[in-house]
Symmetry: C2
Subunit: 113 residues, 2 copies
Amino acid sequence: MPIAADLIRGHTETIILAHLYSRDSYGYEVNKSIYEKSGGRYELKEATLYGAFRRLEEAGRIESFWGDENTGARRRYYRITERGRSALRENLDEWGDAKKLIDILIQTEGERL
Amino acid sequence: MPIAADLIRGHTETIILAHLYSRDSYGYEVNKSIYEKSGGRYELKEATLYGAFRRLEEAGRIESFWGDENTGARRRYYRITERGRSALRENLDEWGDAKKLIDILIQTEGERL
DNA sequence: TCGATATACCTTGACAGGCGATGTATGTAT
DNA sequence: ATACATACATCGCCTGTCAAGGTATATCGA
């Protein structure tokens, strides 16, 4: 994973919420989607993924239900709640602010790197 | 601190290195500088700051020396090393990549938030 | 002179998120 | 048969952050 995970830390839940905002989904698919969107440069570790799902559900930001596949491995689907959509909006705003702030804080005075 | 510290996490060392790239400095001043550049929205906790200095020095990215003030509290100054400058360049590159990646991963498909 | 405030350093213990490792089970392709 | 992909889940460790506490010097106002 060529992208330092430390830099993504703190965004895991936002990434998941953004995915679920578009459509209901399940763990494996969420992670495949991240992998594809990132051009194979990033994916969540399973322990990270399921830990985030647990926290999000405990916070009432997502709800889960078992899929009704009659073949293949069972899937636990997740659906974003209104609280989740609201949290997503806040997180996106915070990310915009944080991005600007970090850009300011890592500026070096005029020198060329 | 209206900016979520979780989003800055992972950038602490880069922020410090960027400051030291411009000039030698000491802990208190580094933090004041962050406070001012952020318009009062952010500052490092002291435990975080000094912890980062320790890690950076152990990694050979900075060097420290006592200031020669003959008045006021003593200051431990830090100087960035060549290894530190090199690490800074890498971190800035990674930040550029991470920024783009996160922006991609938190996109929602067409819907307006 | 006493207390508050600013400057300046540092450490300890706890916490939270992420991760490596491991385990379970079903289905498909060779 | 065996490997691989799909799909879920947990345990224990590691690391960066933070709250809280501690030390010391200098200044300013009451």
